[in-house]
């Protein structure tokens, strides 16, 4: 398993682009939590006519790859329209850094997710998008953000999700993770963290 950071990760980590904050930004979002060890905050200034991201800044609490991915996504988003920026995905961001160790792929997901949340917040505020009704689709999208550390791919991609249901405020998730898997508890914990912030979800039932 590749463990070492690429030179490009180290370069962005040591000299992050677009670091800091924007006073009175047009949009901003924070994702992740310090208790989990990583958090990213993205600030955007957007031209209301062209919907181009004219300025972007980020702050981060997290490891070297968290900082490097924060840096790269701001670099990638700057000058793009909201539609274009929304399409930046975590694999692309990781590739732009010449790859990340599999165990660090979740950093890329978090950075991209924060950028998308900031864009979404802008769209909601400016009536460019409607608030999506909560359904099991949202749960599935959240599971796509959870990376299995050993291989650096998400749970859905790895066919580790056997069943997802949402009934009367209860999210039911059945995962395929063998009992001896070292990351079993971590993943269950992460699924909970991802779903807990949705007020629509009153209870989470995970079976493996």
């Amino acid at each position: 398993m590749k463990m070492e950071y690429s030179d490009k990760v180290m370069e962005h980590f040591m000299n992050p682009r677009n670091r800091g904050s924007i006073e009175n930004p047009d949009a901003c979002a924070t994702e992740g939590s310090p208790a989990c060890g990583d958090q990213v905050k993205v600030f955007l200034n957007i031209n209301p006519e062209t919907l181009i991201i004219e300025d972007v800044k980020f702050q981060s609490y997290g490891c070297a790859s968290n900082i490097a991915t924060g840096s790269i996504i701001t670099e990638m988003a700057k000058g793009k329209t909201l539609e274009e920026a929304k399409k930046i995905d975590w694999k692309e961001a990781a590739q732009a850094l010449d790859g990340l160790p599999p165990i660090k792929m979740h950093c890329s997901v978090l950075a991209v997710d924060t950028l998308r949340s900031a864009i979404k917040n802008y769209e909601l505020e400016h009536n460019l998008a409607e608030k999506e009704e909560f359904s099991k689709k949202v749960i599935l999208e959240e599971l796509e953000k959870i990376i299995y550390p050993q291989v650096g791919k998400n749970l859905v991609e790895l066919k580790m999700v056997k069943y997802v249901g949402f009934e009367d405020g209860v999210a039911i998730i059945d995962l395929y993770i063998p009992e001896f898997d070292a990351y079993r508890d971590n993943i269950a914990e992460e699924v909970k963290e991802h779903l807990e912030r949705y007020p629509e979800i009153k209870d989470i039932k995970i079976t493996m």
């Binding site: 040591m14 060890g37 990583d38 990213v40 997290g62």
Partner: protein
Amino acid sequence: MRERLYFNNCLTTPIANEVMAAMEPYLLENYYPENFNKTGTKIVEQLEIWKNMVAKTIGADDKEIHFTSGGTLANNIAIKGYLLANAGKGNHIICSVIDYPDILANAAFFESSGYEVTYLNADKEGFIDLKQLRESIRPETILFMTTLVNHTVGTIQPIKKIREILNSADHYIAIHSDACEAYGRIAVNIREMGIDMMSVSGHKIYGPQSSGFLYVDKKIKLAQLIHGIKRLDDLQTGGISVANIAGLVKAIELIFQDFHSYHSHLKQMSAYFLDKVNSEIPHVILNGPTGNSRAPHNLNLTFEYIEGEAIMMMLDYYNISVATGSACASQGLKPNYVLQALGKTLEQSHGSIKFTFSRYTTTEELDQLIIKLKEVVGKLRENSTLQPDK
């Protein structure tokens, strides 16, 4: 000045030049002692002298010293050997939640094999709960295991008090101690401390990797764990590197020829560095105890509002080695279990950095470290999502 500033001596220490020199003859003429020839008989005699030298450093007899290929092997030979030899006497073991992984992994193994294990809690400074220890003793309790100096926060367990408590039982409870962090850094006398078995690792005292010894009190019987031809030792049968033993003994000799000044050097380095940190960097928490109940080489500090892997990697970029308790730097993505058991928050674990010093550490090196550390902490804090309440 070394190219890399190394402050991770808890992981492993650099090998001493004198140690390498002491090993060389045995690498070039690597004969086994069993041979009844000039070299073979010479090594047998030499081994006795070496065992005697090692024994003296802990107040033991030479027959109680067994050379092993490292600390983990010594731990396994002792724990498994003792429990197997005493299988009929009881099936209850006591250790603590903050013990070194060798102890915890052995405890888990025996738990899965039908033994009962009590994991004692620790207080916020890393001292195990003695009241809980007293209450945990049962007629079936046969073994107490402890990490004499905690590998994360440097807490020295009050082993004499522990022995007194264990002695209050109606039957004998043996103590096995992992002393890999302790030996050579604090004074250890096994009779005064009431320790029955103790493991020591060579590569944490400037000796070669895969070297170490196990002390076993002569009244203790261990079941044979490793079966095979008896070469150098009856507990670890088979081949043990004579060169590694020679290196280990040289490393021990170097430490104990002037233990007092070595010990005070480590103490001075820690005090010097802690003082600098406190005056130069705000929002820092010392994890673990202060004063004489802390091992002299260990400082575990939390830098608030930032994450430890980033601190470690940025220092690494500047050729400075330290360790962190952050989940992001662990293979299992879990925060350090010792800091968690001490009641630290997840953020405090993630932001922790462990600095461990050696006999080669100098104040000049620490001055360089503090300059870089201040820069790194400042840079990371400047762009952190977390900020102190103003």
